[in-house]
Structures are given as C-alpha cells and as structure tokens.
C-alpha cells in the first residue's frame, strides 16, 4: 500500500512536468496549427542554462530569471523563423521545428557540454512522510508551482483582455483580424509563453532527475503524448493528460518493468489516436451540428 502511494506521488510529480510541456504544445498548436517539435529543447534550455549560470557564480534568483528569459527568446526566435518562411505546409513546418530542435541541441553541445548535471534542490533536501511514502520538498514545490502556473494561465486566457484575444485568434483567425487584433504579436506572445512554461518545467525538473543536452527529445515527445491524451484543442487537457501519463508510467515502472516505462507514453498515444483522436474529453463534448 505504501509502495503504491509512493509510486503515485512520484507519478504526480513527473506528471505535472509533462503537463507543463504538453501545455506548451497546445498553446502553440491552437494559435498557429503548428506542432513544435523543439518544445522539449525549451525544457532542456531552462534547466541547462540555470546549471551553467549558477556555476558561473550568479545568485539563484538571477540565474533562474535569466534562464527563463533566454528560453523565452529562443521561443521568439522560432516564431520569427516561421514568420520568415516562404511556405508553411504541414511537412515543412514539422521539418523546420525538428531542425530547430537539432540546432538547439547542437548549440547546447557547444555552449554547455555533453555531461549530466543536477541542480541543487531549491528548498533543501528534506522530505515529508505521508502514509509511509516520502514526498521531497522539491517534489512538493514542483506540484505547487505547476498548479500555480496552470491557474495563472487559466485566469490569463479566460479573464484578461489579452488572453481572451489569444483564445479568439485560435478559434477564428479571420474574425480576430477583423476586430483589429494583431495576429503576429499574439502568435509571438504564444510562442514566448510556451517557451517560458517549458523552461520553468526544466528548472523544476532538474533537481529531481539530472539534466543534459539530450533530455529534450524524450521529454518533448512525452509532453506531446500528454497533450494528445488531453486533446490538442483543449488548452488545459494537457494537465489531465500529463497526470495520467506520469502516474501510469510510475506504476508500470514499479510493478511491471522499468525498461518498458518509456513505452507507456507511446502506447497511450497510439491508443488515443486510434480510438479517441480528439482526446479523452472529446466524447464528453456535445456533438456539433
């Protein structure tokens, strides 16, 4: 029983990271119709920048803020590259974002290195004991901050003027244009937000698992799975998707085999794509005429 609870707790922790990565995907997909294959690299950029800035002697708060800023800039650069592209077909955008992810990994190889690094925990190494399971302070921080980010995004998109404008744009680009909403700025903002969420995810994750230039690949793909499970057109579906994914992975690793842990995300992805391509919430929505 204790083991089960422990597995669930660690599953929830990782699940929130997947949720953050997944939300980055849905934000960009909903505003531009593009699947950003370099999303995972934004996560990596957040964690790795912090590691090296701290090594360079900067105080915590400066290193973290700069990491987030750097990643946001990387997001805006991608937006600009897409903006300058001659054609925006499905396949050329897939290859473009894949190329960007390769370039970012290459950049990380050059600027950082190929080694594994860890960030020290922000809140020390202590832990709570709940029902015989250990919940580290860092894990609790991950859960806490992730929830805050989700709430913040919810309020931003549903309640603020800018946020609602962004939602309107994703629903119908033409009427948004007619209402004088600056599409380009909105798109740029979406990419920046997506990158910021991802980098925070990277910062939260780094103390728990180590970080290196390559973690973006798997993390990005799993985050994408989380987004698809929740439904790509549901901005907050990724949260549920991420949690389901995190917990399932944890249970599989604990009870079946740790070698097949990574397969969970992709089996789930295939399952959703074949049976409920709109995500788990798609059947609950009223049928549109």
């Amino acid at each position: 029983m204790n083991e089960l609870f422990q597995l669930i707790l660690s599953g929830i922790t990782v699940g929130f990271i997947y949720a953050l990565v997944g939300m980055g995907f849905t934000v960009i997909y909903n505003s531009s119709g593009i699947i950003n294959f370099s999303q995972g690299e934004f996560v990596m950029a957040g964690g790795m920048s912090a590691v090296f800035l701290l090594k360079a002697g900067m105080p915590f708060w400066l290193a973290f803020s700069l990491s987030i800023l750097i990643t946001a800039i990387l997001g805006i650069v991608l937006w600009k590259l897409i903006d300058l592209s001659k054609e925006r077909s499905v396949i050329s955008m897939i290859i473009l974002t894949l190329g960007y992810s390769i370039a970012l990994r290459g950049l990380a190889e050059v600027i950082f290195d190929k080694e594994l690094h860890t960030l020290p925990s922000f809140v020390g190494d202590g832990a709570f004991e709940i029902y015989g399971a250990t919940l580290t302070y860092q894990a609790l921080l991950v859960i806490f901050i992730s929830i805050i980010i989700v709430l913040f995004l919810y309020i931003f998109f549903k309640k603020t003027k800018t946020g609602k404008a962004m939602m309107a744009t994703s629903d119908n680009i033409d009427s948004a244009k007619l209402m004088g909403i600056d599409i380009k700025k909105i798109l740029m903002l979406n990419f920046a937000i997506s990158a910021i969420i991802a980098s925070i995810g990277g910062l939260l994750l780094a103390p728990i698992t180590s970080t290196n230039y390559e973690i973006g690949i798997m993390l990005g793909l799993k985050g994408f799975s989380a987004a698809v499970i929740g439904g790509l057109s549901q901005p907050f579906g990724a949260v549920v998707g991420g949690l389901i994914l995190g917990i399932s992975e944890s249970l599989v690793a604990g009870y079946i085999s740790s070698e097949y842990k990574d397969a969970v995300a992709f089996v789930a992805l295939l399952g959703i794509l074949f049976f409920m391509p709109g995500g788990i919430f798609s059947n609950l929505k009223a049928k549109r005429i």
Binding site: I35, L81, L84, S85, K86, E87, S89, V90, I91, S92, M93, I94, I95, L96, L98, G99, Y100, S101, I102, A103, L104, R105, G106, L107, E109, V110, I217, L221, F224, S225, V228, S257, E259, Y260, D262, A263, F266, V267, L269, L270, L273, F274, P277
Partner: protein, 311 residues
Amino acid sequence: MIKRNIDIIILIFILIVAAFAMKNDFYYEIAVLSILNAIICIGLNLLIGYAGQISLGHGGFMALGAYISAILSSNYSLSPMLSLFIAVLFMGIFAYLISKPILKLEGHYLAMATLGVGIIIYIIINAQGDLTGGPDGMGVDVFKVFGYEFDTNVKWYILSSIMLILVIMALKNLIKSPYGRVLRGIHDSSVAVESVGADVAKYKSYVFVISVIIAVVAGSMYAFFSGFISPAEASFNRSVELVVMVVFGGIGRIYGAVMGAVILTVLPQLLTSFEDYQTLIYGIIIILVMMFMPKGIVSLFDKLRKNGAGS
C-alpha cells in the same frame, strides 16, 4: 529510349567515375551508406510525396526488419537471402496490418502515430537484450548468395549501385503506369481518384507497405555490410534523419530523394573538421532550407533548367 533514360545513363556514369575517387575503405563506407540511404529515401518519398503520408517512424520499421534478417542469419544460421526474405514477408504483413488504422488519421495525427510505433519498436529492441544484444547492438554475419561472399567494399559498392539503379528504374516505370497515375492523382485530389473507381485507402496502404519493404531491404543490406546493427537504427533520430533527407531533397521527386540522401549522408563527414559544431551546423542547414527552399534542393535544378530553357 535513350532520351527517356538519359538520367539513368548519367547516374551509371557518375557511379563509375565515383568508384575511381574512392581513396580508401572509409570512402567506400560513406558511398555505400549514401546509396542505401538513397534507396530507403526513394521508398519513403513514395509515401510522403505521392500518398501524402508523413512517417516519423520509418527508422523503427527499417530496423525491425534489419534485426530480423540479422538474428535469423547470425543466430539461427539461416542463409542471409532466406533471412532477408522472411524479414520482408514479416514486415510486409506487419506494415499492412498497421496501415489500416494508421492511414485513417491525417496530417499531424498520422505523423504522430508512426512516431509512436517507431519508438515502441525502439524500446522493445533495447529491452529484449537476450535476443537483440540490447543497447550495445549485435554483430551480423557476412552476406552470402549461393556461397558467394560479399566481403569486400568494392563488391558492396557494385551491389548497392545495381540495387539503386533497379529501384529507380522500377519507380520510374511505376509512375508512368496507370497505377502510378493513381498515386500522382492522390497527391492532387484523392476525391477525383476515388471518383474514377480507385480505392484510395487501399492504394495508400500498399504504398505504405512498399515503402517499408524497401526500407527493410536496404536496412538489412546495411547491417550485412557493416557487420553490425544497433538500436540506434530504430531511434527517433534515425527516423527524423530519413524524413529530413526526403524533404531536403525535394518531396515527390525521385532524384530529390537521392540527392537529399547523398548530400545529408556525406555532409556530416565534411563537417567533422568542425567537430563539436557538427550538430549545430546540420540543424541550421535544415532550418535554412525549410525556410527558403521548402520544395527542396531539387528546386534549384528546376530553376536552372527553366532559366536555361528561357534564354
């Protein structure tokens, strides 16, 4: 007859001339790898360019087939040709069964499904260590046909060159035929094709199976050639590499696929002097081509031909 096949003649010429430029074994390795990649890309191009299906998991399919060839011939002492035949049969059926649910999806979702299958294959190959040798890979016995061993680089260069020429000729014939007309039609308007009595879903399935079979044969050949196979061949990186080659070269063009494969196989070698910057430069080149030459490298040649014809 000559005019129509001038491209094949030029290709044979290039292959022969290139043979004399092979300074050492390493050159041969790159050449054979380029040719085999070109073959895989021609098949993948059929899928992406004509059937309009993006596969981000072709590395997985290719490697699974190659592992079957390798395991049957090296661990169970079946003849390499028989092993290859069984691998093709198995993967053909597997691809056909998978194609039914997958090809119901479109665009991004289709790409994602192929990605999912490819990675699952990768994970399984890694995990089943006793059968596959796990993450470290496994050795592969030499390729023999009726006792004749393909044990030198020159023999492999000739063999793969012949395979490339046969594949190109077969595909050129296919595109000209009624079957090929259906494929070209699907690219333009699958509704139009459906309205003349062609079951589009069936054709898409067949193209999927064909592209997998071609990849399995070329991938198996590569395993036999290098005497080694590892799960990296099934990785997402490998699948991405193949798709990038096709798109970089030019979707829907046979020679686009060939050029993309050759350039992107040789390029990393040319970049070794830049050592650490290899990956970065590779990524930047892909980005620039996608931004400014989305129709691929082959569009440069089109422009040259147009200008030449106009003047």
